[in-house]
């Protein structure tokens, strides 16, 4: 699912995306990428970009050449999603019309979510999250389910990102300059672990993020509206196991991406110091296994 042009423009200006060439270059690797396979195989080594005058652009451009630079596929599988009960939806009466493409079927009145599509969407979403974290973006975890509020806040704290599982004040995103101050920085990505609020209506932040051109990743259950969410992940948001799995996945991805960024920066700092000493620049080790 490609991000909308509005999102692209915003990301362009935020420096997250340099050019949309990523979309054209999404070539599958040798492991035969499919949502279902658990690929422990390494993502292929890509040829080094020719221009090495701007090290900064190298740090930012290189990850965009790959379809799965951070190898998020290995973090989950359809089986692990099944064991975490991600496929369980609500009853057929609660079904949202726009969730019908994602539903596999109905058993004894309960909707079952298609885990193959979930895996695909989850991989895209995790990849996107990793890229945002790699580029030092602000990630905000939003949920209004009181059962998992503490867990989500802890997850955010562990990643070094931000969480909002409390009462959402009206103009938080749209009126942030007055609420916080004129130079506040808004989140660059919002992750919804529960798209609905306590009265089973769509969370206000979904609409506000779309208004403010902030990309969103969200776990949509069968009674949720996936329309305004940039990277919806159809899945169960009511079981503790499912939410724990998702929290773990997001935490691992973000930490991995940040670690990768530190490594790349250290590598390039080393390279530039070696270059300034006048010694020959050796080809850097470009193994992408995280």
């Amino acid at each position: 699912m490609a991000p909308s042009p509005a999102v692209l423009t915003r990301l362009l200006c935020a420096g997250v995306w340099r050019r949309p060439s990523f979309l054209q270059k999404a070539t599958p690797g040798p492991a035969g990428l499919n949502g279902r396979t658990v690929s422990g195989a390494q993502v292929p080594v890509v040829s080094e970009p020719q221009d090495d005058d701007d090290l900064q652009s190298r740090i930012l451009d290189v990850p965009l050449q790959h379809s799965d630079f951070f190898n998020v596929k290995e973090l989950f599988s359809v089986k692990s999603l099944f064991e975490a009960r991600v496929h369980l939806g609500h009853k057929a009466g609660c079904r949202h019309r726009f969730m019908e493409p994602y539903i596999f079927g109905n058993r004894l009145g309960q909707d079952i979510i298609d885990l193959e599509q979930t895996a695909l969407n989850l991989q895209l979403a995790l990849n996107f999250t990793a890229h945002v974290a790699y580029r030092k973006g602000i990630i905000l975890f939003v949920s209004r389910n009181r059962q998992f509020s503490h867990l989500i806040e802890k997850t955010a704290q562990d990643c070094g990102e931000y969480a909002h599982t409390r009462y959402f004040k009206g103009g938080l995103l749209t009126n942030a300059h007055l609420l916080f101050g004129p130079t506040v920085r808004l989140p660059d990505l919002i992750i919804f672990l529960h798209t609905l609020n306590n009265v089973f209506e769509s969370h206000v932040a979904v609409r506000d993020a779309a208004k403010m051109n902030i990309p969103t990743v969200g776990i949509v259950d069968t009674n949720c509206n996936p329309c305004l969410i940039t990277y919806p992940i159809p899945g169960n948001d009511d079981s503790p196991q499912a939410i724990q799995l998702f929290c773990k996945l997001f935490r691992t991805t973000i930490n991995r991406a940040k670690e990768k960024r530190r490594q790349m920066e250290a590598l390039h700092r080393l390279q530039s110091s070696r270059g300034s000493e006048g010694s020959e620049t050796s080809a850097p080790d470009k193994s992408h296994s995280p």
């Binding site: 509005a6 423009t9 362009l12 200006c13 935020a14 420096g15 900064q56 652009s57 930012l60 580029r135 030092k136 602000i138 905000l140 503490h150 806040e153 802890k154 955010a156 704290q157 070094g160 990102e161 931000y162 969480a163 909002h164 409390r166 004040k169 938080l172 749209t174 300059h177 007055l178 609420l179 916080f180 101050g181 004129p182 130079t183 506040v184 920085r185 989140p187 403010m212 051109n213």
Partner: protein, 390 residues
Amino acid sequence: MAAPCVSWGRALSRRLSHAVRVSLCQRPGYWTTSATDWQAGPRSQVLKLIHTTVVTSKKNVQASRQESYTEDFIKKQIEDFNIGKRHLANMMGEDPETFTEEDVDRAIAYLFPSGLFEKQARPIMKHPEQIFPKQRAIQWGEDGRPFNFLFYTGKQSYYSLMHEVYGKVLQLEAHRGLLSEKTESKDLIGSRWLIKEELEEMLVEKLSDQDYVQFIRLLEKLLTLPYGPAEEELVQRFRKSVTVQSKKQVIEPVQYDERGMAFSTSEGRRKSATAQAMVYEHGSGKIHVNGVDYLLYFPVTQDREQLMFPFHFLDRLEKHDVTCTVSGGGRSAQAGAIRLAMARALCSFVTEVEIEWMRQAGLLTTDPRIRERKKPGQEGARRKFTWKKR
């Protein structure tokens, strides 16, 4: 640039307009993302034209008012205060090094005498921290990332506190089966929870009543579980000890007359009557007022009962002798004044617990009621002139 009417891209217009409008307050450096130049004009064409709400300058005043006390401003105020204090000490002829707050207050009251009734309207000279409300420093760093992980909720201190306490509750509930000892709640006696205003002051954040109630409920829940010293310390942060009132009661020293009899003197007032009473420790219950026996001085039983009340309350009716002088007021006022004087004098012969009982019975409190003045246009203090229909 008369910016507000034009709606360009969200962040850019605000930034440009703010640069013009808000020039008085100091602003921290912009955070920069990697390699993009925000300030450049041509960039604005890349952003799509979206309709933004028109932010008029009136609404923006609120944000600038919050920023008006910058750190440098407060620092300068503190320096000025310290210099002013030294000048004041020199003016009063005192040592600037040992010039305390009370000395400052006294000096100001002397130099600027004011007849205003409202104490807060009189000239004051206090440390700037007591005058300017506590402000929050900027909550994010150079790169724009906020420091607290709950920054985007709006009430970061309150919610992070709730998060912390709830985490402790979960932890204790998980370990509840292992340790079943219950610590005594003796540490909580004589202390109360912080009130909402005190909590707001502590967190430097506005709270609603429901927030406060939820917080106290969570702490109470924590107290029902078996908690250790770490949790005890956390709870004590939000408890305030209640000072026992009777400790403030001034106890008269016991004096001895030429015959070696122990007695204690005290004063009392009621309406416009003043009395001085001398209560002897050992006696037979005789009371002399202005040289005469109280049976003669107070013919009315009610007044005599008032005099007997403190002794009757402590079961010491015929154990003390009293000599007192009284002037002013009427019969009832004089009786009340003597009663108060006697009760105060009795405090020196009586235990602390009994003093607390007397205080709770109202024997040690000066009755503040005085005669209300007559107002013009009325016959008395409250009575109006007869209303005539025509």
